[in-house]
C-alpha cells in the first residue's frame, strides 16, 4: 500500500486518481532551462500550504524577494504562508549580493558557498517544523546552482544527506535540476539516489520513474496560475 499526497499541480493528481506523489519519498524534477521546474516546485509548496501542510524551501536560485515575487505572480500568498508558519525558507543566495537579512522562525539565511551551513539550517528548520507538524514538504531548488558553486560530487553527498534528513523526519521532498548541467556520471548518480523522476521538456511532462507507477507522459502548459497538466481525449 503506497500512500500518496496531492502534488499541488493542476491536472496531475486527477490524472493519477486523486493524489500523485508517494508520501515520504524524494522526487527529482529535471529538464532543460525555462521549462517550469521552479514553477512546479512552487505548485508543490502552495499545494501543501493550502491544506496546512508546511513546506521547507531551500532556495539557491532566487533570494527571498524574488522567490516571493515569483510565487505572487502565480497567485500564491507566500507572505501569509510564512506568517502562518506554513512556509520556511532557507535563502542560500541573498547573502551573496548583500548583508543578510534578519533571521526569524521561518526565514534562515545561508550561502550556496557553504553546503555545511545549509545542512545545519536544514536541521534547525526541520526541528521547528516537526515540533508542530507530523507531515511536511520540502523543496531544494536547485541542485544546479549548488553544483555551480561547489564540487559536483560534494553536492551528491549533500543531496544524500538532505534525503536522509527529510525522510527520517517524515517529509516528502522535491529537488530540481537543469538537465545536462553536470557531468553525466553525476547526473546518473542523482537519478539513482532519488525515488521518483519527473521530466519536463516545455510541453510534455513525463513521469520517468515513480514508486508504484509505470512510466507515462502528458502534455502541460504554464499559465498565470502555474503548471497545468492536460488530459488527452
Amino acid at each position: 500500500m503506497i500512500v500518496r499526497v496531492p502534488s499541488g499541480i493542476r491536472g496531475l493528481d486527477e490524472l493519477m486518481g486523486g493524489v500523485s506523489i508517494p508520501e515520504n519519498t524524494v522526487t527529482l524534477v529535471y529538464g532543460p532551462p525555462k521549462v517550469g521546474k521552479s514553477i512546479f516546485a512552487y505548485g508543490f509548496t502552495a499545494g501543501g500550504a493550502e491544506m496546512d501542510e508546511p513546506c521547507l524551501y531551500i532556495s539557491a536560485d532566487y533570494g527571498i524577494s524574488d522567490l516571493k515575487r515569483n510565487m505572487m505572480v502565480l497567485g500564491m500568498d507566500p507572505e501569509s504562508y510564512m506568517e502562518k508558519e506554513l512556509l520556511y525558507v532557507i535563502d542560500a543566495i541573498s547573502s551573496i549580493s548583500g548583508p543578510s537579512r534578519d533571521e526569524g522562525s521561518t526565514y534562515f539565511s545561508s550561502s550556496v558557498h557553504n553546503p555545511t551551513d545549509i545542512m545545519v539550517k536544514l536541521g534547525v528548520a526541520i526541528r521547528n517544523i516537526t515540533n508542530r507538524y507530523n507531515m511536511f514538504r520540502s523543496v531544494l531548488d536547485s541542485l544546479t546552482t549548488l553544483m555551480a558553486f561547489n564540487d559536483e560530487m560534494l553536492i551528491v553527498r549533500v543531496l544524500t544527506a538532505y534525503i536522509m534528513r527529510i525522510k527520517e523526519a517524515g517529509g516528502t521532498a522535491m529537488v530540481t535540476y537543469t538537465e545536462g548541467s553536470a557531468d553525466p556520471k553525476v547526473e546518473t548518480m542523482l537519478k539513482a539516489v532519488v525515488d521518483n523522476i519527473i521530466h519536463l521538456d516545455g510541453s510534455e511532462l513525463t513521469v520517468e520513474a515513480m514508486v508504484g507507477t509505470g512510466r507515462f507522459s502528458a502534455p502541460y502548459t504554464i499559465d498565470d496560475s502555474g503548471i497545468r497538466v492536460l488530459h488527452e481525449g
Partner: protein, 224 residues
Amino acid sequence: MSENYSTGIAGLDAILGELEPGSIMLLTGPPKAGKTVLATEFTYRALQAGNPCLFIAAEYGYRDLQRNTMAFNWFIQSFADKLHVIDLPTGLAGGRPQDSGNVRYSALQNTTDLMVKVGISTRSLYLEEGTMVSVFDSASILLAFNPPKLVMRVLKAYNDRVREAGGIALVVYTEGVAEKDIEDEIPGLFDVHIHMDGSVMSAVRGGEGMEAPYRITDQGVNVG
C-alpha cells in the same frame, strides 16, 4: 559441503541455473531499471527458503528497506532473527541511530567500519547457519563518498568474506557513475553478471550469456 543455492526468482533461476556456494553476482543497469526490486525480492526469497541474509543498505536506509519490501507484501520483519542489516546512510540524517538487534549502523564514508561489521555478520551467520545470502544495494553510491580504488578494494574484500562464509551475494551497481576504466574492471570481480536495461534481463556466467524480457509488477520482478 553445503548445497547449491538458487535465487528463488523463477524466471531468473531459469536463465541462471543453480549457484554454487561462493557465487558472487553483479547486478548492473541504469537508474530505475528495477535493480532494487530484484535485490529486495532476492532477499525475501532467500529468507523464505530459510537462508539467513546480510543486507547492506547503502543507497537507502533500513526504514526504506522495510517500506520497499512492504509495498510488495514481502514482510521481511517476520524473519528478524535471520536478517542482518548494515545501514550506511541513516547516520547522515543527523541523529545517532543506535544498533538494535541485527540492525547495525555504519557510514558511507567509513569503509573500514563497514568491513569490520561485514566480517562480524558473515562470521556469525557462517557459524550459526553454515549458509548465507548477502545483498549490497548499491555499491555505486560508495563512489560519491570514497575514491574509486578504495571502493574496488572494499568490493574485493566483501566478496572474499561472502566466499569464506560459503554464501552467495548480489551486488547492485548503477552503471555510468564512474570512469570507464573503473567500470570495465568491476565485472572481473564477480562470477555472474546480471544486467537490467528496463525491459531485458541478461545474465553472463562463465562466458555464457542468456537473456529474457522482464517487467516489474506489484508482485515483484516478472522474468520471461
